[in-house]
Structures are given as C-alpha cells and as structure tokens.
Subunit: 408 residues, 2 copies
Amino acid sequence: MSSTCFDRIAELVTNRRELGDGSPLGLRRDAAVVVEDGEVVWVGDAGAAPATDDHRDLTGRCVLPAFVDSHSHLVFGGERVGEFAARMSGRAYTAGGIRTTIAATRAAPVEELRRRAGLLLAEMRRQGTGVVEIKSGYGAEVATERRSLEVAGELTAETTYLGAHVMGPEFADDPAGYVTLVTGEMLAACAPLARWVDVFVEDGAFDGDQARAILRAGAERGLGARVHANQLGPGPGVQVACEVGAASADHCTHLDARDVAALADSGTVATLVPGAEFSTRSPVYADGRRLMAAGVTVALATDCNPGTSYTTSMPFVIALAVRECGLTPSEAVWAATAGSAAALRREDVGHLGLGAAAWLSVLDAPSHQYLAYRPGVPLARLLTAPEGVTARAPGVGGPGSASQVASR
Amino acid sequence: MSSTCFDRIAELVTNRRELGDGSPLGLRRDAAVVVEDGEVVWVGDAGAAPATDDHRDLTGRCVLPAFVDSHSHLVFGGERVGEFAARMSGRAYTAGGIRTTIAATRAAPVEELRRRAGLLLAEMRRQGTGVVEIKSGYGAEVATERRSLEVAGELTAETTYLGAHVMGPEFADDPAGYVTLVTGEMLAACAPLARWVDVFVEDGAFDGDQARAILRAGAERGLGARVHANQLGPGPGVQVACEVGAASADHCTHLDARDVAALADSGTVATLVPGAEFSTRSPVYADGRRLMAAGVTVALATDCNPGTSYTTSMPFVIALAVRECGLTPSEAVWAATAGSAAALRREDVGHLGLGAAAWLSVLDAPSHQYLAYRPGVPLARLLTAPEGVTARAPGVGGPGSASQVASR
C-alpha cells in the first residue's frame, strides 16, 4: 500500500479540537496530513511530515473531511421535473407526486436503478461527498423494496429500509395491513440488506404508534432507527425518535419547545435538509440556531430525491443552512461532516483524527468559510478515498476532476 | 475555419420562437445545431444537418445559449470572507465593507488584478457563462479606475465605468467634488476604455440629480447608461434609469407601482441579482413575478463581487430567481440568456438564431428546467465559444472540462 502527504494546506479542518485551534473544527493553518492504507496516519505542520511515497502541494487550499450525506433517496425510477416546474409556476399539478416515483421504480429494471443511483453517487463525489446513506422507499412492496436495498448496498454500507415512506397504493383502505406488511414479510426480506430502519412520521403518512411498531420491529432485526420527523407540520416524529433512541430525527422543520428539549436530552441528532425546504418553497426553514442554542447535535444532508430536493450538493446545503437555518459558516461545515457522521453513528468518518478513514475533500479556496461565502460555486471535490487516491494532481482542472476517484 | 455539428440534442433552447415551439425559449426536441467560423449557421432536426468537419452526439442533453452575465464586479483586490462570516454569525462587524475592497484594489499590482479577474472569468465559463459585463468601481480615484478598466477590457468588450460606486474616501466632506471628479478627469481617463457608465443610486451613495449628471456626462463621451437602482430601499434609481434610456436598471428589489410602470413603458431592462439578496440575508427579494406580469423585460446576473454576492454561478442565480423572485423555470432561463443579452443591448448573443455568436452551453440534463429542479448541482458548462470549440468531447468528464475553452 502507498502513503501520500497532502502538504502546505492553507487551512486543515480536522474536527478534532486537540489537533487544531481548540474550536470544534480543530483548524490548523499551514498544515499537512498523511494518508496511508486508507487511513489518516499523521496530522501536523506543513513541511514536517515523515517521508511518503507521494507528495501533493495544496498551497492556498482548504482540506476537510469529505462531507457525509446522511439522508438520501438515490434509488428510484423516473424523475419529476414537470411536477417541479408546475409547482414553481404556481400551477396546480394533479399528477401523483411520490406515487409517480413508486410506479416508475417498480417498473424499472434493476440495471436502470443501479445505473442512475451510481450516476448520482458519482455526482456527489465530484462535489466533495464521501460516505452517503441511501434509503429504499419507492417500492412500497416487498420485491421493489428489496431490490432497491440491493442496489443501495452496492453503493454504500449505510443502507436504510424505508418501507414506511408512504402507505402502499394497494393499502389505501387498509393502513393497518400495510404496517403489518412493513413489519412482517417486507422487513424479513429487507432487514438482511439494511443497517437502518426509517419511518416517515407525518399526517397522511405514519402516525406515532405506527412508527413505534415499525421501529421496534426493525430493532428486533438489528436495525438502528432513523425518523423523518416534523417536516410538514408539528407531530410526534421527534418525540418518537428520541424515545426509541433513534440515531437521527430528520427535517425538524416544525418543532415546539418540547421537541427541542427532547433532542437536547437525547443522543438523537437533528438532521436538517434545507434543500427540501428550498425546492418545495416551504414557508419556513428548520431553525438550526435554536437547536444549536439548546445544545442539540445538528447534521446536514441533501435529502436527494426526485420530488422535493433533487440536489446532490452538500456545499449548496451548507450555504442554505447558513442563509436560512441560522447556522454560522463554521457550524454548517461541522454539521455537514462531523454532525452527519454522528447521525450515522460513524466514528471513522467526519473527522481527520488518527485512524480516520481517508475520506478527504479539498476546496478551491483557502478556508471552509468559502463554502457559504461563495454559494453555488463548485469549490469542493473529493481529494482521496480510502480505496485509492486520485491520479490527477489537485489544482489541475476543475471540479470535475474528482470523477477519477473510484466509487465504492 | 472549421464547422461542427452538435447533434441529437434532447432539447435545444434557441430563444427564437420561430425556430422552435413558438414559446419564448423556442424549444426544439431532438435537434441539431451547426456552428461554423464562430457563428450559428444551421438549426434543425437531429440527423438532418449538412456535413461538417466535426460531429458531436449530445444524446440526452440540453443545449442552450451560453448564459450572459450582465452585472459583475470582477476586478478587485482582497476578499471579505471575515466580514461575510461575521454577518452570517449575527456579530457586529465594524470593518470597512466596500472601503476595504477599495483600499485593497488601490494597493494591488495590475498583474494581481488581472490574475484574479481571469480566474473568476474562467470559473464562470466552467459553469456555462459566455459574455460577461465587468465594472470598475473599487478605485474611486482616477488611476485605479482606469487600471481596473484596462484589466476588464482584456477580458470582455462589455466594460463599465463605475466611478460612481461609492463616494471616494477622500471626498467624505465634499460629495460635489467627487461628482466633479467622476464627470471630469476620471471620466476622461476611463471613457476610452468603457462601453458603459453606471451609477449606484442609493441613500449613502449617489442621489438622483448626481446620477443624472454622471450618466449625462458619460453619454457625452459615448457611453451607454446602466444604473444600480432600488437595491436597499425605495429611491429614484429606476426612474432615473428609465428617464435617461438606460439599458438596464439593476437590483430592483424595492419598487413601487410607479417604478414598475416606468420600466414597463421604457426600453430599460430590469436586471435581478438575487445572489446579492441571498448573501446579504436581505429580508426581501426582487419581485420578478410582478415585473413579468407588467411586461417588463427581466434579466438575471450574478453581481459577482467580494462583499455582497461572491458567486459566479448563473445556475445558482436561476434557481434563486425561481425560488425567491417568482420566475418560472423557463422564464428564469430566458432571463439569464436573452434577457441579460438585452440588458447589454447585444443582438448577437443570448439566442441561437442564424448568425448568432457561437456561445453555446450544455447541461448534464435533458431540459432547461433542470437548472432550477437541481439547485446547486454543476450541470452547465460551456460547450463552444466563438474563438474555438472545446477539444474534449462533451459528456466526458465533469463540469470542469469547459476550462479547455479559450477565454476571450
């Protein structure tokens, strides 16, 4: 195996207070980091690293842990650009929303699901994202949910069974029957392929008791819990998430004081997905400032999906979280790396401490604050992944050059 | 000279009703376009083009006129990331704002101004932008204004003399003296290097009468008028712009009914720059819907500058204009191409009619609506420029590949 030194980094974000300036981001100016056998093995001053097989000069650049995208729906058939354009044009749109995607996903050959999810993952990687969580949820039937998780599992270890995304179309008059399916036959088929179980708790989707039953059944099969919580209005999602010890409550747009207190008193991370609020023209965004003030651990994710947030860009999400959710530029970068790693209960990613997996990204900018300062600009790209280092020298070419990083 | 056929385009945006579906975007499905000697020479159906020297297959892609960025401030020294981070963190920031940039620009060697402006222009090109307007305005003294325009003129024909950006720091107690300078010695030095004259009309900057004097003096030197109008509050900017027949009134965030009527009754384009409203956390965005409804010609631009809108991304601006200014996805794409060409009174760009300059961009998506549907994702890149065609085949590599297009 080979070792590489990334040297003369203008600003290194370690997310380890003790490795840097004592702040949560653990910043080091004029720094170097050494990666060997897919792990971070040394962090220190520029020019001071031990000898390595390869050496890269990153003068003027910021290096940070690759973004962790802890909430995505990458496995689906079809797209919904017409629905989006109608919504943004103020026109009524009577087509099926998520049901359109369910029909298209059921109909799609597995090769097509694999090809498209792979393209989206590659697009994420070109923008600086490393580890990605991928959910099922557009099957709403046993075979398609299982197939979706097979595809997800080829792309990531962070697979989530979301049979409880919406009620299956065949169960419009029998919600209890659908919950029985989700906790029974569908779970049995999907659990071996998943690390997590997730439920969309919302009026019109699943209520608190249904969610408890689904998460409990998942836990009995060894699946960790995640919850789509309080997206469209107040509801029991956050309470259920905290009660069952979910790793994360996602969305958190409509919270009351009790919800914020529950998050603060639990180990449950609040994952904000402002891309969804942007693309649905939500009248409000999640109040990240309030959560930070209460001591809640906050994460950021794209929620990438074809209906309500078709972005793969963590830099865009960071800029939105600063503009709309009240995070500072530094808090947003922490939330998109260390925070989202916590939302996946991963200790090997989201930081650059010794032994961390070698997921590093680089910015075409001298500090992490540029991610919010320069919104929309493709500044970030993956620098190295545990499986291998990009062949191309950093600094040559544009944001597309990370496409040479092998996908997992 | 050589000819190239871009063939099997999923959707071609011509911005010529008669070349397409009769809509303002003049859309053609399954189309081809031929470029020769830096001009569009043929538009028609896929597979039907005359023989050319080169042939590119763009199956599944949307091709459109390269974005026109009709409002930018690319020539400056220094950056203001600390000011931005402080503003976004709710902290008071007592440093100098624009005066910081004036001091840094005055102090910067011309090579440094040239290098940095060139990098920003290249960044724009990598994101699908063709023609760019570039202003002076960070000199506020004769030598630096002239030097800024020299740099701008190396990068674009659309140079704008903005001596009237803010009052020169040396004229804090003598605004009339500064206007005399701007309309006298500074204008004489700058006019030969500029196509346009611009004034920032706002409380604390220049009032209506000062603006009239400056625009009139510019006109006497052959400069077309542009105005920074109604950005921070109500004011006379739009009225002055329409009165003098300015090509464009830019910002237009705070308009009353009289302003909208004046724009509708004039040939003055309203150029919206929602990136500035995003990055300053403006409580309101320009109401593009209201302007469209009144029949005003609307343009979009980045306003790229280091203080209030440090984005180079027209796709980001399009997504914001849809989310926040009420344009439809189609209207926003028109405004970012044909609209901003109109704001520069350019008939050779912003469309793909016969004889148009060969500024074409391509999306990694099948329709123009994806620019709003997939916010933050680097979908667009320059496909060809009048000076030459990219050496690299479209579809290979990521958004960075347009860096191979020669800069003007």
